[in-house]
């Protein structure tokens, strides 16, 4: 059965602040959903709720019809939803291979250490990090840390990945390579992904469907090209005057 993550009318309050006021998104295995919105619109909060790092105030999150909201993070990972961190957080004292292997041992697969190390090797060649396999994670460059973050999330065996700004902070020449790499891996492995991203080029290239949120609400969704021309979206990003200006 192919995995399907459904979030319905998810709301989250932090004290009196309504960070999310009803967002619904469906992510299916094999498809990539882009989630965009201005700073502070609630994107990262939404990912945290889907990953189980926090509980929604109301609304439901289901994976294949089974409620996952309220479950602890490690259970959610076990069911097949994994998240990357916006600022990569590798296990610094471990080698790159060990970083990935630990995810294979504890994620949805529960691999034995030997098998997990083999899995890690395969995944590392997939993301192009073979030469760094035995490097201690603390010594990696930002670009490599981002790739490791991705490899580690995949290694959990998750069928739905939540990718939090994997392309942020990359240089202009790293960016296209990185976008191609993610696209290639996604097609090859066929997982579903919810991609939170500021880099428009990445969103437009990768996504099959884009959801735009502002101040915790969905203001537009649809095919990537349609969404970026939606006046409401332009207004949210750039202000009213630009949106009304003749194009």
């Amino acid at each position: 059965m192919s995995a399907r993550l459904v979030a319905r009318d998810v709301r989250k309050n932090f004290g009196g602040v309504q960070a999310l006021r009803g967002v619904s998104v469906t992510v299916e295995e094999g498809s990539v959903i882009g989630l965009i919105g201005p700073n502070g619109s609630g994107k990262t909060t939404f990912l945290n709720l889907l990953a189980g790092a926090e509980k929604p105030t109301s609304g439901t999150i289901e994976l294949n019809g089974r409620r996952t909201d309220g479950l602890p993070v490690n259970r959610v990972v076990g069911l097949g939803i994994a998240k990357t961190y916006q600022i990569p957080r590798p296990f610094l004292a471990m080698t790159v291979r060990e970083n990935v292997a630990v995810a294979a041992m504890y994620g949805a697969f529960h691999r034995k250490p030997g098998e997990a190390r083999d899995d890690a090797g395969r995944l590392l060649s997939l993301v192009g990090m073979d030469p760094q396999a035995e490097t201690v994670a603390a010594e990696l460059t930002v670009q490599h840390r981002k790739q490791l973050e991705l490899a580690r999330a995949i290694a959990t065996g998750a069928r739905i990945l939540l990718l939090d700004e994997v392309f942020a902070g990359l240089s202009a020449d790293e960016l296209p390579r990185s976008i191609n790499l993610v696209s290639k891996i996604q097609k090859e492995l066929g997982f579903g992904a919810l991609v939170v991203e500021h880099v428009m080029r990445a969103v437009l290239t990768l996504s099959d469907h884009v959801v735009v949120i502002e101040e915790g609400r969905t203001i537009a969704e649809g095919a990537p090209q349609e969404v970026v021309h939606d006046p409401a979206v332009i207004e949210a990003y750039l202000g009213t005057e630009v949106a009304r200006a003749p194009t």
């Binding site: 990953a51 602890p72 993070v73 490690n74 990972v77 076990g78 610094l92 504890y106 250490p113 396999a133």
Partner: protein
């Protein structure tokens, strides 16, 4: 296919070395003079405590300042078991282990939610509370302690603590060399991230705290047995918390050999100073200074430092 380099060798010379040493001690001790027997018992008590604390502080990074609480519980379990229930000492040690584990799980359920310095302070506060409550219980001597009149039983004591240490070493090896070892290193490195790759951090920490409490309780019971008495000051002795920490910091926290090395380094001055009138009472100052130096200059302890700077020994020392 290229065989991946393992961070820890699968067949540990360290384990073989320790096993051999323990076997030799186990065989030779009955033939040693009485003074040496007593010395070995006291030394192994230190080793037992070091490995016990290593399970939680060494492997997960949670620094427990209050571990002497479990020694006290073990000591009073032995005292109460013998005095009130007519237990033989060995059964008292089992009771100490059981209660040590039970209290550790109970305490851990609450305190392991705190991290870093908050956890350390909480354990210290709990120690102070326990020190003022447990010895005052009327069935446990009402503050006057319990005198057990057990006579001199060096061999029984020796083999009890010997067995505790052997089990601890075996368990440490088993925990660090499999799936659990990876999960624990992940927790020690970044607990939140460990959870996001599926590690059930709460359960793992609680299990290790329980194991740690069990061995500390058992060792505390044997310690009380060697004194043939349980007093509030010897049962709940904060300096043991400090010694335990000193041993694993000096030797190398979270390693297999570290607690043993640390125990030697802390035990020798401790023991020697007690025999020299003019140095009496200085042992903690010396150990404290040593810990400071290690923390400042070689924070990974002896084992960590050797592994880092002497690649040739990396295969043999873990």
């Amino acid at each position: 296919m290229r065989i991946p380099r393992m961070r820890f060798p699968t067949f540990g010379p360290t384990l073989y070395g320790l096993a051999l040493l323990m076997v030799v001690l186990g065989i030779a001790t009955p033939f040693l003079p009485i003074v040496a027997k007593v010395q070995l018992i006291n030394f192994l008590l230190f080793v037992g405590l070091a490995y016990a604390l290593n399970f939680i502080t060494g492997l997960t990074g949670y620094v427990s300042f209050g571990h002497a609480i479990f020694m006290g519980i073990g000591a009073y379990a032995l005292g109460g078991g013998i005095d009130r229930l007519g237990f033989p000492p060995l059964l008292g040690v089992f009771l100490g282990a059981g209660l040590g584990a039970a209290f550790a799980v109970g305490i851990g359920l609450v305190t392991l939610r705190f991290r870093g310095v908050y956890f350390a302070i909480t354990t210290l506060v709990l120690f102070l509370a326990a020190k003022n409550i447990v010895p005052e219980i009327s069935q446990l001597g009402e503050g006057g302690g319990i005198f057990m009149n057990l006579g001199f039983q060096p061999l029984a004591q020796f083999y009890t603590i010997w067995a505790i240490v052997v089990i601890e070493i075996g368990l440490t090896y088993w925990v660090t060399h499999g799936r659990l070892g990876y999960g624990l290193r992940a927790i020690k490195s970044d607990e939140d991230v460990a959870k996001t790759v599926g590690v059930n951090a709460s359960r793992l920490k609680l299990s290790l705290f329980g194991i740690s409490g069990m061995f500390t309780g058992a060792t505390g019971a044997v310690y009380a047995w060697t004194l043939s008495a349980v007093l509030p000051e010897t049962g709940f002795d904060i300096t043991f918390s400090l010694r335990m920490l000193a041993m694993i910091i000096i030797g190398g926290a979270g390693t297999l050999l570290g607690p043993f090395l640390g125990a030697i380094i802390v035990y020798v001055p401790y023991n020697y100073f007690q025999t020299v009138q003019s140095l009496l009472g200085l042992q903690l100052a010396v150990i404290g200074a040593l810990v400071l130096l290690i923390a400042l200059f070689i924070p990974t302890g002896i084992v960590g430092t050797v592994r880092r700077y002497v690649p040739f020994l990396r295969r043999y020392i873990e």
